[in-house]
Symmetry: C3
Subunit: 355 residues, 3 copies
Amino acid sequence: MRTLAEHTLGELAALVGGSVEGDPTLLITGVASLEDAQPGEITFVAEPKYLLTLKTAKASAVILDRVMPADRPAIRVDQPYRAFATVLTSFYPSPRPPASIGTPVALGERVHLGHEVVLLPFVTLGDDVTIGDRVVLYPGVFVGPGSSIGDDSVLYANVTIYERVAIGRQVIIHAGAVIGADGFGYVPGPDGQHLKIPQVGGVRIEDDVEIGANTCIDRATLGATLIRRGTKIDNLVHIAHNVEVGEDNLLLAQVGISGSCHLGTHVTLAGQVGMVDHVHIGDHATVIAQAGIVKDVEPRAIMAGSVAMPHRIWRRVQAATPRLPELLRTVAALERRIAALEANQTHAMNETEHG
Amino acid sequence: MRTLAEHTLGELAALVGGSVEGDPTLLITGVASLEDAQPGEITFVAEPKYLLTLKTAKASAVILDRVMPADRPAIRVDQPYRAFATVLTSFYPSPRPPASIGTPVALGERVHLGHEVVLLPFVTLGDDVTIGDRVVLYPGVFVGPGSSIGDDSVLYANVTIYERVAIGRQVIIHAGAVIGADGFGYVPGPDGQHLKIPQVGGVRIEDDVEIGANTCIDRATLGATLIRRGTKIDNLVHIAHNVEVGEDNLLLAQVGISGSCHLGTHVTLAGQVGMVDHVHIGDHATVIAQAGIVKDVEPRAIMAGSVAMPHRIWRRVQAATPRLPELLRTVAALERRIAALEANQTHAMNETEHG
Amino acid sequence: MRTLAEHTLGELAALVGGSVEGDPTLLITGVASLEDAQPGEITFVAEPKYLLTLKTAKASAVILDRVMPADRPAIRVDQPYRAFATVLTSFYPSPRPPASIGTPVALGERVHLGHEVVLLPFVTLGDDVTIGDRVVLYPGVFVGPGSSIGDDSVLYANVTIYERVAIGRQVIIHAGAVIGADGFGYVPGPDGQHLKIPQVGGVRIEDDVEIGANTCIDRATLGATLIRRGTKIDNLVHIAHNVEVGEDNLLLAQVGISGSCHLGTHVTLAGQVGMVDHVHIGDHATVIAQAGIVKDVEPRAIMAGSVAMPHRIWRRVQAATPRLPELLRTVAALERRIAALEANQTHAMNETEHG
């Protein structure tokens, strides 16, 4: 992708709150990784181990922390990786289609559209839908009756929002995600059939949430499934009815969270983690990939394994597990040696007694 | 959500086949959980442990079993949770759009539409499609050539039905689900490439099945993939080609079932369970979350773990697993003590012999 | 499905490079499995164990290898299963809609359409999109600005292709798949918030790749996520940013691959396998279902387990695991017997000393 902008080294330094080392009028035409950067572009080094790669990089400038040695013009900051993200944004502003209402779209009754909204073709808005300012809805998006989307949110193609879902501001929802499908709730019928429990609650997504492609967040039976401010959710995640996810969580790909779970703030669930229903995870807890959570997790705990245990124990269990077959053989051998000892001792004692 | 109806306590009791305790003319304006119920609303207690919460509930009436003490007007039934589901349905009838053909929709040749069908905008029906009475198809639904949808079924937004898929009556398919994509079948080619085996079979979904959001059910290579009556499937489930799922199963979120598996009736697979191909699961069997099924499962068995084992063994293995590192150390120490015993015994016997 | 063609046994033999046993003018009206085949149809036996079933099959002809005994007219080939796939293709040619541009579709500026393209209704193509010859795009497909689709590729309903994605020739993408959504990349902000790292790279899908329903392949942060020629991907797979998947891989359902992983050629990942980020898998390696890969895998290795270990060790660990609780008890008993031995020995030695 060709960048859409040029900046001087000094302008970029001001943008990230850093200091310039070298010529501040140096023109920077793009940003790239150490390996890919071309002359004219800026790159970054987040960890000292990459300084060796820097030596052979073609980049004309580099973002560094306050202490790493620079072999070319540099911007010095406290956190090079964060500064890199900011510089990226300045070179690649998010590609926003111009405000317009596509043809055809299908709008229900009493729909309220904010300023500078983008509705691409084949969007459907049900009755009583509210769309905030500068919202972008890509083709195939469906928003059910009574739902609302806050200012500056973007819903990519083929996203489905069921009825009575409230979505905050600056929310990003990737293609194919489904928000507000019925929770999975049944009660046994007289003949062993599963009778559906109507799922009449809603979903509330707060500001600054990002939701990955084909992720599913179910509506509550009663009340609301809730995703709090700033939480980021990866692709193909399942969040069941009546779950509450706290602020600033990271939920990685293919995580599955059962009904009525409650996650605190700054929780991280790594890929393919599963949780049984009605479990509470404390603030700042981390769960390692593929773990299975079956009971409450303490704040700041690190859990791993299926069924999950504290990470420091799990690490030792992991190291010990491949030795289990050998251990069985060792114990069988010990058993024989003990039997021999016992036989000999009995024999010796008999000897002593009768000697 | 505001409810759409009001009922007297007596009407609700008649609806659920229960008996009234208190004034049968009491007007009930809604239904809610113990915590959320407001004056005028009815709540329910399914288990005695929630009776304490009932004391402080604001609800004007409660659904109870035949023996729990009532502190306010009540409906007594054998199964309070089932009665609650029924009452919910009476207050929140499923929101069905009025019968209509949206604009635009795309209809193939020889399409047959039943009575009072709802086709929302941007629906596509291929040639020779049959749609039953009162079917609702949300925006973005695609139904491929030769497929049929039975009476009273609802397909939510952006559901894809490939060609020659037969869907029964009162089936609910949530947004983004895909029924009838090609099974994953290849045969090694001369140069190690994977040659596609045409997937020319179909899919048959019987009556009263519910299918979760973004779930995928593949078509058969030959014959049909089959989901029998009354089975309920959660979000993001994968069902491969030529699988047969029996009646009244519960398949929870992110379950994966490989090709040609066969599940009996009333099977429950908990979240993220996986099955290798060609495995049979007996009637009324249950598989615990994240388990991996690699061979046939007996009727009524409860299985757990990856690789799966009987649940009663798995529970003990789970309890023992964190002790494995300690066990290794214990056995090493025992080995040293036995070596010492052996040395001493040899020494003692030498003593005795030469004593 | 009724087949669309009839062939003589001799024609079919020529098609698969086999030799006829019996009447080459025998008319074959279809192809089916051993159990389902009807008179007039041809079936196949890939392994000797199915010869018993052949005896009762109604098929009028059979595909066999060079040595298995034939009880009816036969085609003899080296690889019966591959020949079966070819014969299937001849009876069921892929159902391709006639070339046409549906109504309505939404086309951006500078869109280039090849010859005999099929655009079904409700397709959206962004600006600067290039569509190759004979491409088929089903309803609800969205192709973002600057993306391209190679000749003879098919994208089923509701597939989403983001901007700047390059898709090769003869690629099949099943319904609901999402190619090019943002990678999951954040950097910690000053208040513990997660700041989005713009994902400005692309995705490149080479020729002859097949991608399953609702699978997600994210765009790169910088550079490109890459799926090489001939790789087949099942349903609900997650492939993160900057991953490179080699040629002729098989990635089964619900696999999850984290950022910057690199897979060699002919790698097989079975269902629900997960990989942490920045891991390399060597050529021809195989990973068993539900395994978790946390470090590099050697070429031709077979790995299993979460955390993964070599399959030959894992098999023994699996056999030993259910015996762990018993082992704990055995070791406790041994400990008591050793203590008794030690006490007796001390006693005996005291006896000897003081005897």
